[in-house]
């Protein structure tokens, strides 16, 4: 039984996407990994081809598709074995803030560009001293007549170099309750006082332009606040469910790709004249790993259905995020063990895969935070 019911439209979309990625993305990945960034052009091509922001309605240039389109994009992107073209982040994490909480004017102004790829987005929550604890953020947003003045800095921001529009979380210092002080703002990258800091050198995600962002007396119109003042924390809580599900999808699909590679490797690699898969230990390892991936996938797909039905699955998505991202890390590491010394060469895709997946148990709320949230909502 298929948990996710893909239609013919979905299948046709997938087919077009597969062709696009094979032609426009996969051949360039090694270069992008060296460049530590992807060209803006590929975002535009991806958008023009209709693959960005599939949930956005036709009114703004989207196809108004259901969440299964996001699943398809996540799955197909996993075949490209890179993280630079962070379309899942853009389409399924950042842009939904504008779509759900934006005013008519904000939507009309920004959504068409988000869909076409002319506007690349980033979300700026994390600060050097406010990671797991978002309420500790020190970036301030002070109302000044019809304007809002932003001061502070953010770090570990994906798409930090390429972004044209930042969904920014900042606190009003006049409000005592930290949770009620935070609002989300739309900040255009050409706003005076906005500066991109250095690009961060990371263990993996080499093709992703992760950066620090700085705001120094950045003046934006008051109309660029998303929703009511002080609604930021609640908006984040609402949207984090989908973000965590997107993480679980990424983890499961990455794990599937790793298993495909490592099974093939073990079948083809000969030791003492026999394929590695003749080793009982190798067989058991592959069976155990495949079981884990299947369990993770079943859980993730079930949550996709719940999510599409509009259920509140904050506990389950938190659990899925931590479990699947731990799982993919274990799968990647055990795959390195199976590959032996060849896994120590970057020419072996497992080396990059391991470096890339390591961040998954950290970003979008560390796995420790996921367990804390689950415990809280379970009433423990």
């Amino acid at each position: 039984m298929d948990i996710l019911k893909f239609t013919q439209e979905h299948d046709a979309f997938r087919k077009r996407l597969k062709t696009f990625l094979a032609k426009e993305v996969t051949p360039n990945v090694d270069q992008w990994e060296k460049d530590h960034i992807v060209p803006r052009k590929i975002w535009q091509e991806f958008g023009k081809a209709g693959f960005l922001c599939t949930s956005i309605s036709g009114e703004y240039g989207g196809i108004g598709g259901n969440f299964l389109y996001s699943v398809i994009v996540s799955e197909e992107i996993s075949y490209t074995v890179h993280s630079g073209l962070a379309v899942g982040l853009h389409s399924d994490v950042v842009v939904p803030y504008i779509d759900s909480f934006g005013s008519q004017d904000q939507k009309a102004k920004y959504l068409p560009g988000c869909v076409s790829g002319d506007i690349i987005t980033a979300i700026a929550m994390t600060e050097p001293d406010a990671g797991s604890d978002l309420s500790a953020m020190t970036t301030t947003a002070v109302e000044d007549g019809e304007s809002i003045i932003i001061n502070g800095s953010k770090t570990f921001i994906s798409n930090g170099i390429n972004c044209d529009l930042v969904v920014l979380a900042a606190a009003d210092p006049a409000v005592g309750n930290r949770h009620e002080a935070i609002s989300l703002y739309l900040l255009e990258a050409d706003t005076p006082g906005f500066k991109r800091g250095k690009q961060l050198d990371k263990m993996g995600w080499n093709s992703q332009d992760t950066a620090e962002l700085f705001f120094s007396d950045c003046c934006i119109p008051k109309t660029n606040r998303l929703g009511d003042p002080g609604a930021g924390f609640i908006q984040l809580m609402i949207k984090l469910q989908q973000e965590r599900l997107v993480c679980a999808m990424g983890a499961v699909f990455a794990a599937e790709r790793i298993m495909e590679f490592v099974i093939d490797y073990c079948k083809k690699t000969m030791i003492s004249g026999k394929p590695l898969t003749r080793s009982q230990a190798v067989q058991f390892a592959i069976v155990e790993m495949t079981t884990q991936v299947k369990l993770g996938k079943t859980f993730m797909e079930k949550l996709c259905v719940d999510h599409m039905e509009g259920k509140n699955i904050v506990i389950d998505t938190s659990m899925a995020k931590y479990w699947t991202t731990d799982m993919v890390n274990e799968i990647a590491e055990r795959s390195m063990d199976l590959c032996g010394e060849s896994a120590l060469l970057e020419s072996n895709p497992i080396a990059r895969a391991k470096r890339d997946v390591r961040v998954m148990s950290i970003f979008a709320g560390t796995n420790e935070i996921m367990k804390g949230i689950s415990a809280k909502f379970m009433g423990l």
Partner: protein
């Protein structure tokens, strides 16, 4: 049992002081980026006697044991896993020359290793996957007073230095038992008939380049056979034992270094209005990490101590290598997690400790290879079913 004597304490302190004084994470990152070996630091380490400490004084060694060599590897890797690995791997292969070769060969090469004039590298494996004796095809054929070497070796680590390769060759192609046809041959690196194919970027230890080597009619004197011809198979086990002890010690230091950094970080990082070290879950993670480091230390020291006593227990050594490397991987991985987003940045060091730990786990036989050795040794002979 493991009370350090005065000499141990002095060596440990000297190694720690040296590493603290010389190693610098910014410089390490630069060398990793440029794929350049730390020539100057290596020279200083050799001057101070950290290279070849287990070799006899007449070869400029320290006349000490593998225990002392392990202490150096541990301390170096604790301060910087990558620099530590590079400095304690750059003489890999010379151990076999010291243990098995005739005096002439030792005199010619070992002093230069200890004095930092030469480095050496192991050229055993011919498959990408790792050492598979059945795949060894490189031949060293005796012609007059020369050996003529032909064949290809996979991903030899530490290329481009003045020095030699320790090459596992078939010296008797007519024999079909590896126990008889394998020999170790010392091949000087500056030979125009050796061709290198760069293996490119690696998961870790980029400051030591790796390359595939092709030998095309490389001529060496017969006296370059390390020890007796046809003894390569037996030498291999002893040699790997020694390398595995050093690897265990490197891993131990890497684990300790990752733990040190994690403890320091959680005591200064504040979230939710308190130091994260105050959280129970963080304390328990640290407890598990510290326990793993301590277990790794116990078994590594025991294996090294017994080796120096002449009680070379292959299974114990494999257990030490497997345990210490696993500890290093798990402790460094947890350190990344404790550092959060910062742990994923190269600047934090712990992600590099993790990558170095994983290398320690995969080289000189992965976990499964050690399990094969340990399982066979523990189970012993299995009686055949009576017919």
């Amino acid at each position: 049992m493991f009370e350090f004597n005065k000499s141990h304490k002095e060596i440990q302190k000297a190694a720690r002081d040296f590493a603290k004084g010389e190693f610098d994470k910014t410089y390490t990152l630069e060398l990793e980026e440029k794929r350049k070996f730390p020539d100057k630091i290596w020279g200083k380490a050799a001057d101070l006697g950290f290279i070849g400490i287990q070799f006899d004084e007449k070869y400029s060694g320290g006349s000490l044991g593998i225990f002392e060599a392990a202490l150096i590897a541990e301390e170096f890797c604790r301060i910087d896993s990558t620099m530590g690995m590079a400095l304690t791997l750059c003489a890999s292969g010379s151990e076999a020359v010291y243990r098995f070769a005739e005096n002439d060969l030792k005199e010619k090469f070992l002093s230069k290793i200890c004095e930092g004039e030469m480095r050496c590298a192991i050229a055993f494996s011919e498959s990408d996957h790792g050492l598979d004796l059945s795949s060894i095809n490189t031949s060293a054929v005796i012609k007059g007073d020369k050996l003529v070497i032909n064949g290809e070796k996979a991903h030899v680590t530490d290329i481009g230095a003045k020095g030699f390769y320790l090459v596992l060759c078939k010296t008797d192609p007519t024999n079909d038992s590896p126990e008889k046809y394998l020999s170790m041959v010392l091949v000087e690196a500056d030979n125009k008939n050796i061709f290198l194919e760069d293996s490119g970027e690696k998961f870790s230890l980029n400051m030591m380049k790796s390359a595939g080597l092709t030998f095309k009619d490389v001529k060496m004197p017969i006296s370059n056979i390390v020890g007796k011809e046809g003894k390569g198979f037996h030498q291999l086990e002893n040699f790997l034992n020694e390398m595995r002890i050093i690897t265990a010690a490197q891993a131990l230091g890497t684990a300790q270094g990752a733990l040190d950094r994690a403890v320091e970080y959680i005591k200064q990082r504040e979230q939710f209005n308190r130091k994260i070290a105050k959280f129970q879950i963080i304390q328990h993670k640290i407890a598990d990490m510290a326990t793993k480091v301590e277990l790794a230390r116990l078994i590594t020291y025991k294996a090294a101590y017994l080796f120096d006593e002449g009680r070379i227990e292959t299974a114990l050594i494999s257990m030490a290598k497997m345990t210490a490397a696993r500890a290093a991987v798990e402790v460094a991985d947890e350190a990344i997690q404790l550092f959060g987003g910062y742990g994923y940045m190269k600047e934090s060091e712990v992600e590099r400790f993790f990558r170095d730990a994983k290398m320690a786990e995969l080289k000189f036989g992965n976990r499964a290879a050690q399990q094969d050795i340990i399982g066979r040794a523990v189970i012993g002979k299995i009686k055949r079913k009576r017919k």
